[in-house]
């Protein structure tokens, strides 16, 4: 009996390694999707080049691997070029039951996604895989993200076979963090991946991180634990009236050194330098810790502690004059610039920053990368649970703030390059858990180059230059922001009416219309945003 147990443990350990798991090439449970041959067949069955050319009108990049192109992505990944014959052969080898019906879910409501679902269904049907697809609505998280009680054997708590989703990453670790033990709703535990996730999260050394990314990319690529489909691009659009004056372009969804204070715009008929944009608030300004730079009105109005470049690499201080990280990576210290003020003229103090760090740690929907950083601060757990009144690891002396971490976080600088402190005095008596419900968000007092002037909710918001901004008073006299989501359904009509001078879109369908306007300029920008298919390999009730 003891011997049998040892054999079983040994086999399980062997199967968990890349080489053996790959060589065995057979299902690991009763779900045939746990068979790598079936998953490879699915990858070979999809003609992404044609999908990109047709459905996305060429406005996407076929994904090879999870990570976007760059130094952290290996160049020798298998491409899985469209080969339906190979897909059929793999399915035959795996004994695929062609009467089996699979369930594919998605949560984007745009037409391109619906078209993509239909295309995937047709490609898979062509090789003998029947797929039905459906949109998940309402509490999406509980339908796609609930993990099984047993992360090794399942069964899964999600009922679908395929999930079409995306990873829009601020930090590259985000692409892989769900491979950590117990975080995957759809993939049985892979011990080596657990180690690699810990490796890339446990160091600030880019070389060590790169080794980890390479190995994880190879594992996912060879075992097709998920299928990367395409890299989504982001398109910045500008009218001919707008002049960035050599300010860089970057990932507009986040905060970067866009140099907006130096932008200029040709005056309108009244002689005023007015810039029109969108993404203004419909009912309230969103807390800038949640989606970081998505709402341009927030980006105009708030400064961050540090500054990143267009690729989101931290490059220096914004509100911080100086900063440093200790050699062990566990202490981050920064000193605020002298004379910083909020838009109401009150000084920005280190105490404001300390309060903001604590509130952001408690705020439930702070961006996951920033939240992950904040939760590693000494005493964060007790503070968040309400067992401590203050966040022990954060302190202020004069204009200097010191943040002490209990464990190493690889993204401290990145997180603080996205983190906008708020004026504490406006939140007295407000529970950070319900921070978004505070009256402050009807007309926030910020710290950035433009201050919010007039707010007519759901109609327009105006911003005007913040006189005395520490990087220089902005040159654009007024910004008028119409309300919209980050996917603005009225973008084209407003652009045609010359009421859209600046903004960005991720909707590829908007691009041809914008490019057709001779006074609009569109700049495609590669961003870390990979659309993919997750494959549920666990046994589940509908198997």
């Amino acid at each position: 009996m003891q011997f049998k147990k040892l054999i079983a443990v040994g086999l399980a350990a062997l199967m968990s390694t890349t080489a053996i798991g790959h060589a065995l090439a057979q299902p690991i449970n009763e779900n045939p999707l746990s068979d790598p041959r079936v998953r490879k067949a699915i990858a070979y069955a999809i003609d992404m080049d044609t999908i990109i050319e047709t459905i996305f009108e060429g406005q996407a990049v076929r994904a090879i691997g999870m990570l976007p192109d760059g130094p952290n992505k290996p160049t020798d990944l298998i491409h899985y070029d469209y080969d339906p014959d190979k897909a059929r052969a793999l399915l035959a080898e795996a004994g695929w039951d062609s009467s089996r019906e699979l369930d594919m879910v998605y949560y984007y409501t745009d037409q391109a996604t619906a078209d993509l679902m239909a295309a995937l269904q047709a490609y898979l049907a062509d090789v003998g895989i029947i797929v039905n697809y459906r949109l998940v609505e309402g509490d999406v998280a509980s339908q796609i993200s609930v993990v099984p009680d047993d992360p090794v054997n399942g069964p899964s708590k999600v009922t679908w076979d395929f999930l079409y989703g995306a990873r829009a990453a601020l930090a590259l670790q985000e692409y892989f963090n769900r491979y950590a033990y117990g975080l995957k709703p759809m993939i049985p535990n892979i011990p080596r991946m657990n180690e690699l996730v810990a490796k890339v999260n446990g160091t600030t050394d880019p070389e060590v991180q790169r080794e980890g990314y390479f190995e994880m990319e190879h594992y996912i690529n060879e075992n097709v634990t998920q299928i990367p489909l395409y890299y989504q691009q982001l398109y910045t659009y500008e009218s001919d009236r707008l002049h960035r004056n050599d300010a860089p372009y970057g990932n507009e969804q986040y905060n970067y050194n866009w140099g907006v204070e130096n932008w200029t715009i040709d005056p309108d008929a009244s002689g005023k330098a007015v810039m029109y944009t969108n993404a203004g608030p419909a009912q309230f300004f969103e807390v800038p810790w949640q989606n970081l730079g998505i709402w341009v009105a927030n980006k105009f109005a708030f400064d961050t502690v540090l500054e990143a470049d267009g690729s989101l690499t931290p490059i220096g201080g914004e509100m911080a004059d100086t900063y440093e990280i200790s050699e062990d990576g566990l202490t981050f210290t920064f000193t605020l610039k002298d004379g910083l003020t909020w838009h109401d003229g009150e000084p920005i103090t280190a105490d404001d920053v300390v309060w903001s760090i604590g509130a952001a740690a408690k705020f439930p929907v702070t961006h996951p990368v920033v939240q992950s950083t904040l939760k590693k601060i000494e005493g964060a757990d007790a503070f968040i649970k309400g067992e401590a009144d203050t966040l022990a690891g954060v302190s202020a002396e004069g204009n200097t703030v010191t943040v002490k971490f209990a464990t190493l976080d690889p993204n401290v600088l990145l997180s603080f390059s996205q983190f906008a402190p708020l004026p504490a005095k406006y939140f007295e008596g407000v529970d950070p858990v319900t921070l978004q419900q505070a009256p402050y968000w009807q007309k926030p007092i910020g710290s950035g180059p433009f201050k919010i002037d007039e707010v007519v909710m759901n109609d327009y918001t105006t911003l005007v230059p913040f006189e005395g901004y520490h990087k220089g008073t902005p040159k654009i006299e007024q910004i008028i922001a119409r309300p919209s989501s980050d996917n603005d359904g009225n973008l084209l009509v407003n652009a045609q009416a010359q009421k859209a001078d600046f903004g960005y879109t991720k909707a590829a369908g908007d691009v041809p219309g914008l490019e057709a306007l001779d006074y609009m300029n569109v700049h495609p920008i590669d961003i870390p945003y990979t659309r993919m298919l997750w494959i549920n390999q666990f046994p589940h009730p509908t198997n």
Binding site: A141, P185, Q283, V433, Q442, V493
Partner: protein, 320 residues
């Protein structure tokens, strides 16, 4: 009549309660809640469930359905509409800012469609079988058949983008202080909203005018030697007006809650837009308040229609 009105008003209360309960129940049965809407699905797996649960508890979402409904209802009876879950804004403020935008659009559309629709309907009936009648009938059919958003997009294309006469959308701009300033913004949405209403009123007015003109009292009036205009307008049109009033009465609440498409096409910051946004984000206090407003508008409109019908048509006796 007073007894009738009092009885009808008393009936409104339980009806409004039942309808609100059903709307609340419908929201409850919809998957998800206000907190799940706040989470970007792409980041769903990375959020901390314990903190999300804390937010749910803080917003009162952890309580059972009946407790939440009763709490909402009793607050309402005390004049407290509550707060939006998404942004914490007092709902009274939301209504105060959004309802006027919708009402001004609805008022213009209702007046325009009533006057023009009734006139065209009468003309069509009086010229029955003529080319004018045929043309108006076809136009009426097109008006009620083609969706509003189509007219909206065509209007934007022609009058805003090509001719540049009107702005493409929005209700106002910085520096606009008066209704006169805002008028250019209102023209297109109000006219487009009027198209379907005008067509409907015209068709109703035509058929009811034709019906009235075939009655015996019209023949009697003519036999008395009354001038034709007097026969048509004072005798015929007055009777023909009854079903038109009913139609217009029931259009009012539809306009309040139902100009959603127009508001979206023309970026109009009205209550319809707010309702759609609140339903999507499962912001139930906002949904419930707007639903209650709509319910009350329908019930009150039906009461007003009854009263007006009795006033216009002496044969109608309320409460009998």
């Amino acid at each position: 009549m007073l007894t009738y009105i009092i009885r009808r008003v008393l009936i409104l209360i339980p009806m409004a309660f039942v309808i609100c309960f059903l709307v609340y129940l419908g929201l409850e049965l919809t998957p998800g809640d206000a907190v799940s809407h706040m989470i970007n699905p792409d980041a769903a797996g990375s959020m901390n469930p314990a903190q999300l649960e804390a937010l749910r508890q803080s917003l009162g979402l952890g309580q059972p359905f009946h407790v939440r409904f009763w709490s909402w209802f009793t607050n309402l009876l005390q004049g407290n509409f509550g707060y939006s879950m998404s942004g914490g804004v007092p709902i009274a403020n939301i209504i105060a800012t959004r309802l006027p935008a919708t009402l001004e659009l609805a008022a213009v559309a209702l007046v325009f469609s009533t006057v023009i629709g009734s006139l065209l309907g009468v003309v069509s009936a009086l010229k029955r079988g003529s080319k004018t009648d045929s043309a108006l009938t076809v136009i009426g059919m097109l008006g009620v058949s083609i969706p509003e958003f189509f007219f909206g997009l065509v209007a934007i294309s022609i009058f805003a983008l090509n001719l540049g006469w009107f702005p493409v959308g929005g209700r106002s701009m910085p520096g606009y202080l008066t209704l006169w300033d805002r008028l250019p913004h209102m023209v297109m949405p109000a006219m487009v909203l009027s198209i379907m209403l005008t067509a409907g009123v015209m068709r109703y007015a035509r058929s009811s005018m034709l019906d009235a003109l075939s009655r015996d009292f019209i023949k009697t009036a003519r036999s008395k030697g009354l001038p034709e205009w007097r026969v048509n307008l004072l005798h015929g049109f007055r009777v023909a007006l009854t079903p038109v009033v009913v139609l217009i009465g029931f259009r009012l609440p539809v306009l309040i809650g139902g100009s959603v498409i127009i508001e979206q096409v023309f970026q109009w910051p009205g209550i319809g837009n707010e309702f759609i946004s609140a339903v999507r984000s499962q912001d139930y206090p906002v949904v419930m308040t707007i639903a209650l407003l709509s319910v009350m508008a329908v019930l009150v409109a039906s009461l007003i229609v009854d009263i007006l019908t009795a006033v216009i048509d002496p044969r109608v006796r309320l409460g009998e």
